[in-house]
């Protein structure tokens, strides 16, 4: 099963440990917050990725299964990942219902 890294932007406080451990997949912005590569974790980095997730002081970093398709809100059985869960950073967040100003 393929996995990718995701970060909860609310939980992350920019310790930067993840970027030190996984420079191949994680960079830092000018304020020290992680920028994740938008690709699946390659096999040779899988163990190191799991370790980076374990060592994140705020439990913000996680590994998620890469689904082939994004789930749509159809009311099917509950899925802990739910629709649009890729990249906890947000851009692909499921659906357009979020912004309501």
């Amino acid at each position: 099963m393929k996995h990718h890294l995701a970060v909860s932007p609310i939980a992350c406080t920019g310790h930067g440990i993840c970027a030190e451990m996984l420079p191949e997949l994680i960079g830092l912005d000018e304020w020290g917050y992680p920028i994740l590569a938008e690709r699946d974790v390659p096999h040779e980095l899988a163990a190191l990725s799991r370790r980076a997730v374990r060592l994140c002081p705020t439990l913000a970093l996680r590994l998620e299964a890469s689904n082939a398709e994004r789930r749509v809100p159809t009311g099917g059985p509950r899925d802990p990942a739910g629709p649009g869960s890729r990249r906890g950073g947000g851009r692909s967040g499921g659906g357009r219902t979020a912004v309501s100003h």
Partner: protein
């Protein structure tokens, strides 16, 4: 004209003014007072009784009507209703009347004139999805509006009008507090700040229940669809964007205010209705998360999501602001970006640090005193911040900033080389165009 229960459905057209409609706004010309329950029922007729068999088909009717959310996101309302209705557990309805977009007035106007139309919609939506509670959320800074709605709810309770209880809430008023996850978190006893998704409210919202959260204008349209049907609803608007919408026009226009237009009315007609000059210059479409354009470039485009997509714009919550010819678009944008930077929830690093940095770059640009390679720095920061917040707050600010750089490209050139435009130099004397709300206590989120 459709007739239903002896009451004439409001017509989609007013022949004298192209594009101007009167469905939600029936009778607004006659009185600026909130319609009483009796006045409301005289105007629209009674809502279809729940239990008569009609209510079960409301989700179908809303879906067939093609109604989309009027809060800015434009998600199909029927799809959302069905998603909530088919989940396990009794649903909850939330009516979002927060309207934190400073350039929008339409939700305030609707609630203050036609409170019972919105409440009808909330109750009809609730019965159609089997919801047991309705929460109407308003900013607590608008006490006058809360009074109107509390009175309207009390009037309905005295009449024993609704099968579902309606609660009115006053929330802290920050820009991000109108975001749906902020409202759900606040109703659950937390801060009115966005949460990470998933779960989304339709899955797990108020009290962990599936929650239908709709903008108040959307609910008012549901009240009309329930009465007059989807075919009637589609008599106005476009095939792919039916119905009417409320739009707020401001800036350099003779008659700023809220107008009900058919969805897809050409922008030129909306500007003409509100008395903009035929040679109007720059135009902000969609509000403070929106985009700047040359009016002449977009004049022929329909005020509808599909039509505006070709120029990267979106109607948002129906906002149009005409920039006066003597105003500096960069200066206006810089002020809005500074305000947006202070209006974040303070939760996500890229937004907490990125938006103030971007606002500072923009201020340097607007004042014609750039430090270092400001455009390169700005471009890098805009690309860095987008998509990295829990909510879309940073994305919206980036969108506005990028569109300003493109729409005011000539000004950018002269500002960078420290030949600041005349408008910007005169800006200190002239009052600002885009409204910046009074500062709120950013510590108060409960």
């Amino acid at each position: 004209m459709t007739r239903h229960g002896g009451v004439a459905a409001p017509s989609g057209h007013r022949a004298d003014l192209l594009g101007l409609s009167s469905r939600l706004t029936v009778g607004w010309q006659d009185s600026d007072q909130p319609a009483t329950l009796r006045g409301h029922l005289d105007r629209y007729g009674p809502p279809p009784q729940h239990g008569t068999g009609r209510h079960g088909t409301l989700i179908d009717a809303v879906t067939q009507a093609g109604l989309t959310g009027r809060g800015g996101a434009g998600f199909p309302t029927g799809v959302k209703m069905r998603s909530v209705a088919t989940r396990r557990g009794q649903a909850v309805v939330v009516a979002n009347g927060m309207e934190s977009e400073p350039a929008s007035e339409k939700d305030k106007a609707l609630l203050a004139r036609a409170p019972h139309l919105v409440l009808d919609g909330a109750v009809l939506a609730a019965t159609s999805i089997g919801a047991g509670a309705i929460h109407l959320c308003l900013p607590r800074s608008r006490q006058w509006l809360m009074t109107i709605m509390l009175d309207a709810v009390a009037e309905r309770e005295r009449a024993g009008f609704d099968p579902v209880k309606i609660e009115v809430h006053g929330l802290p008023h920050h820009y991000v507090s109108s975001e749906e996850t902020s409202i759900v978190q606040w109703l659950n006893g937390g801060d009115a700040r966005p949460t990470a998704v998933p779960p989304r409210p339709f899955e797990k919202g108020v009290g962990q229940r599936p929650t239908l959260l709709d903008n108040v204008e959307t609910l008012a349209h549901i009240a009309l669809i329930a009465r007059f049907g989807s075919a009637w609803y589609r008599q106005a608007g476009l095939a792919d964007a039916p119905g009417t919408m409320l739009t707020t026009v401001s800036g350099a226009v003779e008659a700023p205010g809220v107008y009900e237009i058919e969805v897809g009315t050409p922008i030129a007609d909306v500007l003409r209705i509100s008395g903009a000059s035929p040679d109007a210059g720059s135009l902000l479409i969609g509000g403070y998360f929106g985009t700047w354009h040359d009016s002449q470039d977009v004049a022929g485009l329909p005020m509808a999501p599909t039509g505006l997509r070709s120029v990267g714009a979106s109607p948002g919550a129906g906002v149009l602001v005409v920039l006066p010819p003597d105003a500096c678009g960069l200066g206006e944008t810089a002020r809005v970006l500074a305000w947006l930077a202070g209006q974040g929830a303070g939760q996500c690093g890229p937004c907490v640090f990125g938006l103030p940095a971007i606002a500072d770059d923009f201020a340097q640009l607007a004042s014609g005193r750039p430090r270092g390679p400001v455009l390169d720095r700005l471009d890098r920061r805009l690309s860095t911040v987008i998509g990295r917040g829990a909510c879309r707050h940073p994305d919206g600010a980036v969108r506005l900033a990028r569109s300003a750089l493109a729409a005011f490209a000539a000004d950018v050139k002269s500002h960078v080389s420290r030949r600041i435009c005349v408008s910007a130099r005169n800006g200190q004397q002239r009052s600002a165009v885009l409204p910046i709300p009074r500062p709120t206590d950013m510590e108060v989120w409960q």
